[in-house]
Subunit: 371 residues, 2 copies
């Protein structure tokens, strides 16, 4: 029993009553036992849609017969119950939709991916495909409640925008123009056509959704991971609050800016600080030291991977060296299969690419990277 519960607990937080503090003002919420999550059916779904500002529906497979899996299922309900309680005053409804029993409702509502949470706001549906923890879900829903358009009223708030975009020196908008800043890019793309309709803007944003450098975030981590490039991801680990990691991230941004028009390139940047519980799992799965920056290729069907050798402390790759390596990845010269153990290469059990393998490139191909 204890084991089953524990297998589900990762980052729950508690401040125990038994360790009383004299200070007030930092109390984590305790569940009050009230059921707030609705069992959605054909009878009640329309009413629920009307009643709340936001309606969150968790689309799930039927209750499994296996007892252990039933417990896990209950845990999902508990996450939703606690989220519902914490957000009680925010006019948000919560419900569960069974993919078998409620197949008709699911079809009407357009629910497709089992295991996802769908948020209905006004006439729109937003799919949540992130870490299903109360923390992440509450933060996500509070963001959804906020107005999606930010008004920038003064110079300080404009400065904030350049900070968020990280590198844009200044905005140079023209009247009636919409600029699109891809993450980490200095120059915006200007949306074509005038006047722009809502549809034009939505279409443009959807087309440019997959950035050249994407940060993995808890609120949409599974969505990002599922959006692989022909079964692989180029993954970079870099801790932003660490000098090495910061430096490597700056190199990554350089590379991304140089290659922003290459639709075949998208690097998933993971800051290990954002995923403490996955750090050692990644170290074990990928055979890496995540105290240092890393970049590699991960095959998402079997988590097989190959990593650029950056073991020398003083020797992060230059943007040019990184571009050479990325070109080798995109062309298939570096891939996760070549290093797999065979009778011939048992001497390379860790699957690392040798550091000097980049000296052996065809010089003609290296010339291509200089533009």
């Amino acid at each position: 029993m204890q084991q089953i519960w524990l297998s589900l607990l990762c980052g729950f937080c508690l401040r125990l009553v038994i360790f009383c503090r004299a200070e007030e003002g930092l109390e984590f919420p305790n569940f009050d036992g009230k059921d707030r999550v609705l069992d959605i059916s054909e009878r009640n779904y329309k009413k629920a849609l009307k009643r709340y500002d936001l309606l969150c529906l968790f689309y799930h497979e039927p209750l499994p017969a296996n007892k252990g899996l039933q417990k896990r299922f209950q845990m999902t309900e508990l996450v939703l119950e606690l989220t519902a309680q914490v957000l009680e005053n925010k006019d948000i409804g919560f419900g569960m939709v069974d993919s078998q029993k409620d197949a008709k409702v699911a079809k009407k509502l357009g629910l497709e991916e089992v295991g996802s949470l769908y948020v209905f706001k006004d006439d729109r549906v937003i799919e949540f495909d992130g870490e299903l923890s109360a923390d992440t879900l509450v933060e996500f829903l509070l963001d959804v409640l906020e107005d999606p358009v930010e008004m920038l009223n003064n110079a300080m708030e404009l400065q904030f925008t350049t900070k968020l975009m990280l590198s844009a020196k200044h905005l140079s908008l023209k009247m009636n123009e919409v600029n699109f800043y891809e993450p980490f890019m200095e120059e915006p793309a200007i949306l074509p056509g005038r006047p722009l309709s809502e549809m034009d803007i939505v279409e443009f944003v959807n087309q440019h959704r997959r950035a050249t450098l994407r940060k993995l975030r808890a609120e949409n981590m599974f969505e990002t991971w599922e959006d692989d490039m022909d079964g692989i991801h180029i993954v970079a680990f870099a801790e932003e609050e660490d000098p090495d990691g910061y430096e490597f991230l700056e190199i990554l941004k350089d590379v991304a800016r140089d290659n922003t028009n290459n639709p075949e390139l998208s690097i998933v940047w993971i800051d290990p600080d954002d995923f403490p519980l996955l750090t050692t799992y990644w170290e074990k799965t990928f055979k890496l030291d995540l105290f240092r920056p890393q970049i590699g290729v991960v095959n998402v069907t079997d988590a097989d991977s190959v990593w650029l050798d950056m073991s020398n402390d003083e020797d992060l790759p230059t943007p040019e060296e990184l571009e050479d390596w990325i070109e080798d990845v995109l062309s298939g010269r570096v891939n996760t299969e070549d290093d797999d153990e065979s009778a011939d290469d048992l001497e390379d059990p860790d699957g690392y690419v040798p550091a000097d393998s980049y000296e052996s490139h065809d010089p003609d191909e290296e010339d291509d990277n200089d533009d």
Copy 2:
């Protein structure tokens, strides 16, 4: 039963096996049921200290008789067990020390605060007084494992440092000099005396530990909260990733820089994004809208509070106005008691300070703020 468990679950995360994904590479750890946390006693504590690079001891009150509290106690153990499993390859030991049964050991080890986790590394002890969740604890311990001194090897890594300090334009260190940068400050303090001993540095850092502007962080949130100023905290809520919040934070930094030499002033900055589960609790307790920046005074003995009126969207206070208000707080003119309901002022049920109350200051006092 379900209710008791739930009362303890806040942010646990799970990715359910029943909702199978085809992609590999993002698996949250499942507890394997193995006991790793030691029951520390006089017999085994010395051996444990020797055996591990890090030893983490949770110092707790005796197991309570109440069944509900016993469950909570078990949850703490479970957090420690999962943390121990996740960090299994890192040579970290975990143990529990009972404040009654193991009083002698606790005294020998210098454990003082029940409910705290003590980390032994080499000859040092580090107290963890943050959110007791596996997420926060794993992140904290991974940080402790890293070398506490960062080597800055090149211009890019130096740039990282100025970024972390947020505002320092450049470092201007002299040979053999140690500079101390308080958070959010542009100018460093130069440690006096030469040559500096380790003790000199430790003493200086301890003296300057309480910054004029402190960010509340999960890893030491209770420590920060307990370090109040005569029973109160000046608390500022500002979401850094929001234009208003960003602007208000810039104003706070200005005020902090102007008053960095005032030992009586320390503002606790809370970014609501870092504490999603506490956001609605704070909104309810303090009667606030945390979609907007806020600043107020909180009495930590009863969580009574009074907040500066900033309800006008266009009207964040200037640094000067904020300094006036802070002066009123420090002098006691603004306090959490005056607004409490009495027969006379039932018309102010929310305890807000009226927006125009700052016009009524003694002009002589306002002159004091101009230096």
